[in-house]
């Protein structure tokens, strides 16, 4: 345990006491939380001596004197906020959470097909939902991961989504997490998504705030894709420029399932995304794509893991970084091919566009291959805007800024083009250029 954050660890432990006392839970949930806080107590916060956190120092995150907020409180700002919801006008269902708590007044649920559950996790906890109890935290490693343990200890709300077998949910489902209010709010959003066999669903997560303040979001999303299920996932990380965002996306891909996730990072001061997909049966196909747009002193770290546990699975991964000013990118792409996972086909690429001399990237592919009949490829490029291409565009009359934007957009579009929700994709493309201008 790190001495510099030991005090912070103790503060969270003390807070847990209050939390546990004031928010009594079912025996099952109380037990889960208690085990998690015990794990957190012994793990503490990670340090840069920890291989997994080598380039990301979370001391400022740990030491932030956070204000715990145990319910959604809009302080009478509901009308103003609801008129300005990030991506509030994209078509589909929306569950909104304020400081980690479900806000019915900012949510919008159209009629859902029979058998589909879209609810707050708090409600599911309250009802002692057995499906939740069966799956919650089961595919996650909260034993060895501090932030996952911390999230689990304070798990209170988030989204619970269950798509029954053979059902295709056409309209996207938007989970919007907003941080609002004074002080330094902390939230531990927790989402559980179960896509039944042969079902399909499109899920959007957005993390944002109503102000520009300092706060801490510590989120976890678990996605379990049933046999032959099809899951599209998009995460928009648009936190305030001073915010800390640490998140885990854990995907379990069953036989013949198809899961594709896009993570778009525009926000945050210190950001760490862990995205892990375990292909636990044959025929699974997983895509993890990401776009990082960094400016000022932003630090954005993406750690991904493609875990090929069984034969005949495919994985695709493409991360693009556009880094300006003094921003920092970190990319670590693990590909595990277990002994049994013959005929694995895994592709990974990460590309970085450095727009300033002071911007920096640490990118590392990490392949651990134990099977012998596999195809694994990875590639990494780092470069500046192509001066010759820039000149070509300008020589055709396009002003410099517009020419730069065309090239940046082309670079980022390798990721954005894959986003299946058209109105969202267009908004992200427009935001990309506004961010960098």
């Amino acid at each position: 345990m790190s001495p510099t954050t030991q005090h912070a660890t103790e503060r969270y432990l003390a807070e847990f006491q209050t939390f546990e006392r004031d928010h009594p839970a079912s025996m099952w949930l109380a037990g889960v939380r208690r085990r998690a806080i015990e794990r957190f107590a012994s793990l503490g916060f990670p340090t840069v001596r920890d291989e997994e956190w080598k380039y990301t120092d979370v001391t400022p995150v740990a030491n932030l004197a956070v204000t715990p907020i145990f319910r959604a409180n809009l302080n009478g700002d509901a009308a103003r906020i609801s008129g300005n919801l990030p991506f509030g006008d994209i078509a589909g269902h929306r569950l909104t959470f304020v400081n980690g708590h479900y806000s019915p007044e900012l949510s919008h649920l159209e009629t859902l097909p029979a058998g589909v559950t879209v609810s707050s996790l708090a409600a599911a906890f309250e009802n002692q939902n057995e499906v939740v109890q069966e799956h919650f935290g089961k595919i996650l490693d909260a034993e060895n991961e501090s932030f996952a343990a911390l999230n689990t200890a304070f798990a209170q709300d988030g989204a619970f989504v269950q798509i029954p077998s053979n059902l295709q949910l056409e309209t996207p489902l938007h989970l919007l997490f907003l941080t609002h209010g004074e002080g330094a709010p902390v939230s531990h959003p927790r989402n559980l998504v179960l896509a039944g066999d042969n079902s399909s669903v499109t899920l959007i997560e957005t993390y944002a705030s109503t102000g520009e303040g300092v706060y801490f979001t510590n989120a976890i999303t678990e996605v379990i894709a049933g046999k032959n299920a099809r899951v599209e996932h998009i995460k928009n990380q648009m936190e305030s420029p001073k915010a800390f965002h640490i998140a885990t996306l854990q995907i379990a891909a069953s036989r013949d399932s198809w899961v594709r996730s896009h993570t778009v990072n525009f926000g945050g001061r210190i950001v760490r995304n862990n995205a892990t997909a375990v292909m636990g049966d044959e025929g699974g196909e997983v895509t993890l794509n990401g776009l990082v747009v960094g400016k000022d002193a932003q630090h954005i770290d993406n750690h991904t893991t493609m875990d090929h546990a069984m034969p005949h699975c495919l994985s695709h991964e493409h991360y693009a970084h556009v880094l300006d000013d003094q921003s920092n990118g970190v990319f670590n792409g693990k590909i595990f091919v277990r002994l049994d996972a013959q005929k694995t086909d895994a592709k990974q690429s990460n590309r970085t566009l450095l727009l300033s001399r002071d911007a920096q990237i640490n990118a590392k592919p990490q392949l651990e291959i134990f099977a012998d009949d596999v195809k694994c490829t990875h590639g990494a490029t780092i470069g500046q805007l192509d001066e010759d291409a820039l000149f070509y565009l300008r020589a055709r009359g396009i002003p410099e800024i517009a020419a730069r934007n065309i090239l940046i957009r082309a670079f980022a579009n390798e990721v954005l083009d894959g986003i299946p929700v058209e109105d969202l994709r267009q908004k992200l493309e427009a935001m990309l250029l506004t961010r960098l201008s």
């Binding site: 291409a389 000149f391 070509y392 055709r396 009359g397 410099e400 065309i406 579009n413 390798e414």
Partner: protein, 253 residues
């Protein structure tokens, strides 16, 4: 006078590449610049188009009386200068049609003209692709990506037609073209000819000049124009090569 280059000297990385170029192009004229490899032809074209890595140590360039060296590359395009590149670059991820519309509307804006809307733009594309017999399928791809050598050259002339320049500089647009493609490119250039518009063709081969007939031919050698003449000079060079002129030049200096 459309273009006036006076005693132009230019360096790159401390090496002097252009050593006193003088050239005047009047409206309606066609000039051919020939000369051995490495003599500075593309350097001259690049400086005219606005590449910044060359250091201009002496001389000036006037375009319709304006100091060209003061203008950004995009402003030069707006003023009506166009360079067909010797090696057109591929730009992955940038759709040709979107690029061209941005370019056309940028120069129109510079010239105080209204933007073309999608319909007007497509009409213009249709009209101009015909001139160089370019398949509009190519326009759906990224800029120059996967184009054959000949397609790249034809695409350059097509862009030229779209941007309606006053002065076009064609840097070896004929190199690597088979005879049919050469005719198409030359016909394209001739179709765009007018009494106000001028063309500078940089070439190694007389055969292009059978189709694009120059008013003047210049020989560029070691960063200087060492001889100028009418179209018969190109025929002369074709017959005797550069050696006699080089020898003459060596004697003179």
């Amino acid at each position: 006078m459309l273009l006036e280059i006076k005693d132009l000297h230019a360096n790159i990385e401390g090496k002097e590449i252009l050593r006193g170029i003088n050239l005047t192009v009047n409206p309606g004229e066609i000039h051919a610049i020939m000369g051995p490899n490495g003599s500075g032809k593309s350097t001259l074209a690049a400086i005219l188009a606005g590449r910044k890595e060359y250091e201009i140590t002496q001389g000036e360039i006037l375009f319709e009386g304006k100091d060209l060296l003061d203008l950004e590359p995009e402003e030069r395009a707006g003023e009506g200068l166009f360079l067909a590149f010797q090696y057109p670059i591929e730009i992955p991820g940038v759709n040709t049609q979107i690029f061209l519309r941005a370019a056309v509307n940028a120069v129109r804006k510079y010239r105080g003209q209204e933007d073309l809307d999608a319909m007007q733009f497509l009409k213009l594309v249709k009209e101009k692709t015909k001139i160089v017999e370019l398949s509009d399928q190519l326009l759906k791809r990224s800029v120059n990506e996967g184009f054959s050598g000949g397609e790249k050259k034809r695409a350059e002339i097509f862009q030229m037609a779209m941007l309606d320049p006053k002065l076009s500089i064609l840097d070896e647009t004929d190199s690597g073209l088979d005879i049919d493609a050469l005719k198409i490119v030359a016909n394209g250039v001739n179709a765009l000819k007018s009494p106000e518009k001028s063309t500078v063709v940089i070439t190694h081969y007389q055969r292009l000049l059978d189709y694009i007939v120059p008013d003047f031919v210049h020989v560029l050698y070691q960063g200087r124009i060492i001889q100028s003449g009418g179209k018969e000079l190109a025929l002369e060079l074709e017959r005797a090569g550069y050696d006699p002129i080089k020898a003459q030049f060596a004697e003179a200096v």
